[in-house]
């Protein structure tokens, strides 16, 4: 006679494995989505850096030309 506990535990383990596989797929999908978002946000970061640098240069230019007193 098989250990009834073993059977029960085997069934539970099977269920656990199945759930884990599902969770793994979900995490993979989540990671993929986040990766896409992050990759798309690079443009935002680039734009932010562009604007920041431009503003910095403009400020410097204005200060250097005396248009705007550097404070």
């Amino acid at each position: 006679m098989e250990n009834p506990h073993a059977e029960r535990q085997a069934v539970l383990l099977a269920r656990i494995v199945k759930n884990v596989e599902k969770c793994t797929e979900m995490f993979e999908e989540l990671n993929h989505s986040l990766e896409e978002i992050t990759r798309a946000d690079r443009d935002v970061r680039t734009a932010a850096s562009l604007v920041t640098k431009y503003r910095k240069n403009v400020q410097y230019n204005l200060d250097a030309t005396g248009v705007r007193k550097a404070t």
């Binding site: 539970l12 656990i16 946000d41 443009d43 562009l50 640098k53 240069n57």
Partner: protein, 698 residues
């Protein structure tokens, strides 16, 4: 934020602290199993342990199932929503990146670009980035930060630091430390070979700098564009896709091609790089096809070739929403679309007039007949009618005889019988179709009139004429009551008694009163033609002779007992148009009512005049000679003019429909004398005589 987190925490159970990690004991005898009855026999303990294992596995299974459920039902959907909702932000960022690219004439790799660019690009790009920095140690911390930014690229690709493009690299600036904000300076400082610039240092004499880069950097963008456009005629577009020769970047060729690319690329619809506003991204932008796979990543920035760094099409890495053959978003052989500013009529440029809320087609002019066409412009007609009404009212004017409104079903009150309606269109509301009420005993007309609402005009007409109370006037009902024209023109305050507070232009009302004041002086005969008899549809030809003022026939309130309505009580002859009107008719050389409004008290709204006329008057364009010669309005029957009265002439025969339609709905809506001056050639008898039946089917 804290409150939000608190709210979220309330909804979710608190996270239990993790239990200490199980460490297997080296000695089995020291293993402690919680929940195990150590006093029980061994077999029982084994059984208990097995049960504990089963329970633990069940818990594990439950936890994993819960994780899966939370992921699938809450986390992933939220992430997807986040991605979708942040898409506009990315679009905007992409737009600004393209904006800076075009401004700096450089190419900034974006997310899409990285998917297409070769990897060998990154190394060379990094070299390019470092060179300007090394060449400009005197730069501000912008340079340092640009390095930082370039290094921040976690993708592993060398990002062309956009900030580099703004680092002025003119030789003069380098040598003298001056700063130039011209972005092009940097672009010209780069080249594919980088042979000339890589070794340069700020201390290098300017002579070593690329002259073309210097000139290109300081030249006006317009000059570059002009040069490029000139070269566009010679250059082949396909050839321009080739990368610029690094050895000798000729401004004409390279600049032209780059400018061509710029011009053409700007015309790609929907492209974020070609949008003029970050808010306008409604379609997936058409990615250019010009990126080639073997692009070495070196951008020849000496020549203004902003975006065309590659020539071959990289179909795999680009998606083209435009599917254009030339890759420029245009069908082959098509020139770039040009936004054309189509000419618009400038008639109203200098003649601000009261603009009716609705076109004249639905206004007063339609009151004469129900056959008017909504699409037609009744200005001429309305002008003529108004003029005739005014003239007739002045001629017939008697004390206290204002413009009386014919009650419903009494079309002959003022001598007008609503013409048979054959082409009844949507009639204006009572306000606009005020004139209609005078002549149209047809209930249908009134009903149709009520369908179109120009409340302002109704209030204007009646109040101006001081005819009726506001309740009567404003109700878009079938109450066809002609206004007492005289009161409106009198301006003596009597009109105000009957006037309502409807939406009438105050200035116009004042002018109306002024005109009414002049009515006592004796009216000039307003030549009324038979334009009113014609079709009420606002055709151009019908408005030829239409006086400006609508319902001028109301002025022609008969001295007979027909005028039992609420005519003007001011003692002014009903036909008296008023001082302003008379002045406008007789003396106004300028048919701009607005101009004369303050001067002569003319009706400001009666600016239905024809630009083409050489002698515009209040009532329209009519030469002074014609006016003075006593020539009446065209088509005015000879018997129209009352005997013994000075002839008032309306010279508005040539009023344009456009003018009337645009501006004069309100004016036309002013039923001065209960006579529908609109509708073309209507024969207005000298008295509010019976309708001769030749109307336009009111």
């Amino acid at each position: 934020m804290a409150s939000t987190s608190k709210d979220n925490s309330r909804s979710l159970p608190p996270i239990e602290p993790l239990p200490p990690r199980y460490e297997p004991a080296a000695d089995p005898r020291t293993i402690h199993v919680p929940g195990l009855d150590t006093t029980a026999p061994v077999q029982d303990q084994i059984e208990q342990i097995e049960q504990l294992i089963t329970i633990r596995l069940q818990n594990i299974d439950a936890n994993f199932a819960r994780v899966h459920q939370i992921l699938s039902t809450r986390i992933l959907p939220a992430v997807r929503r986040f991605a979708i909702n942040t898409e506009p932000v990315r679009e905007s960022a992409r737009f600004w990146v393209s904006f800076f690219e075009q401004a700096a004439q450089v190419r900034i790799p974006t997310t899409d670009d990285f998917s297409a660019a070769a990897e060998g690009l990154s190394e060379q790009t990094q070299d390019e980035q470092t060179n300007p920095l090394s060449d400009a140690p005197d730069r501000t911390q912008a340079g340092d930060e640009s390095n930082t930014i370039s290094q921040d690229d976690t993708q592993g690709h060398s990002v062309f630091d956009p900030s580099q493009s703004f680092i002025p690299l003119t030789p003069s600036s380098r040598g003298a430390g001056a700063i130039s904000s011209t972005p092009m300076a940097h672009s010209h400082g780069r080249s594919r070979s980088q042979t000339r610039l890589e070794g340069l240092t700020p201390s290098d004499p300017p002579s070593q700098w690329d002259e073309s880069a210097i000139s290109a950097s300081i030249e006006s963008p317009l000059d570059r564009l002009d040069r490029g456009l000139r070269s566009l005629r010679e250059d082949n577009i396909n050839e321009s896709l080739l990368p610029a020769q690094p050895s000798k970047p000729t401004p004409s060729a390279a600049g032209s091609s780059s400018l061509l690319q710029n011009v053409l690329s700007r015309n790609i619809p929907g492209s974020p790089r070609n949008r003029t506003s970050p808010l306008k991204f409604h379609k997936k932008p058409a990615t250019p096809k010009h990126i080639r796979k073997d692009w070495d990543g070196i951008v020849d920035l000496r020549s203004p070739r902003p975006l065309k760094v590659a020539t071959a099409l990289d179909e795999d890495n680009w998606t083209d929403s435009d599917d254009d053959e030339d890759g420029m978003g245009l069908p082959p052989g098509m020139s770039p679309p040009v936004t054309m500013d189509f000419a618009r009529p400038t008639w109203k440029a200098t003649r601000p007039v009261i603009k009716p809320s609705k076109p004249l087609t639905t206004g007063i002019g339609s009151g004469a007949t129900s056959n008017y066409k909504v699409a037609q412009s009744p200005r001429k007609e309305a002008a003529k009618r108004i003029g005739r009404d005014l003239v007739g009212a002045v001629e017939r004017g008697g004390p206290g005889k204002g413009v009386a409104m014919a009650p419903s079903g009494n079309p002959n009150r003022f001598g007008y019988k609503p013409p048979a309606r054959s082409n009844a269109g949507p009639a204006p509301k009572a306000g606009l179709a005020f004139g209609r009420q005078f002549y149209d005993g047809d209930v249908a007309d009134a009903s149709t009139t009520s369908s179109i609402s120009v409340p302002s005009l109704s209030g204007y007409s009646k109040r101006a004429m001081g005819i009726e109370s506001s309740s009567e006037m404003e109700a878009p009902s079938l109450d066809l009551k002609p206004p007492s024209f005289g009161t409106g023109y009198v301006g003596s305050g009597q009109a105000s008694a009957n006037e309502s507070d409807s939406g009438i232009d105050a200035s116009l009302e004042a002018l109306m009163r002024q005109v009414g004041l002049n009515n006592e002086q004796g009216g000039k005969r307003l030549p009324m033609d038979d334009s009113f008899n014609s079709e009420d549809s606002f055709d151009a030809d019908m408005m030829m002779d239409a006086p400006v003022f609508a319902n001028l026939g109301g002025l022609q309130q008969p001295d007979d007992g027909d005028d039992d309505s609420d005519s003007s009580e001011d003692g002014r002859p009903p036909g008296a148009p008023g001082a302003g009107f008379l002045m406008a008719s007789g003396g106004m050389e300028d048919d701009s009512f607005d101009d004369d409004m303050d001067e002569q008290g003319a009706f400001p709204a009666f600016s239905m005049h024809d630009e083409d006329e050489d002698d515009p008057t209040v009532f329209g364009a009519r030469s002074v000679a014609a006016r003075s010669s006593g020539v009446g309005a065209e088509g005015v029957p000879s018997d129209y003019y009352p005997p013994g009265g000075s002839q008032l002439r309306l010279h508005s025969q040539q009023l344009s429909d456009d003018e009337l339609a645009e501006n004069d709905t309100e004016t036309i809506g002013m039923r001065i004398g209960g006579v529908n001056t609109l509708g073309g050639r209507r024969h207005v008898p000298e008295t509010p005589t019976p309708w001769n039946g030749q109307g336009r089917g009111v």
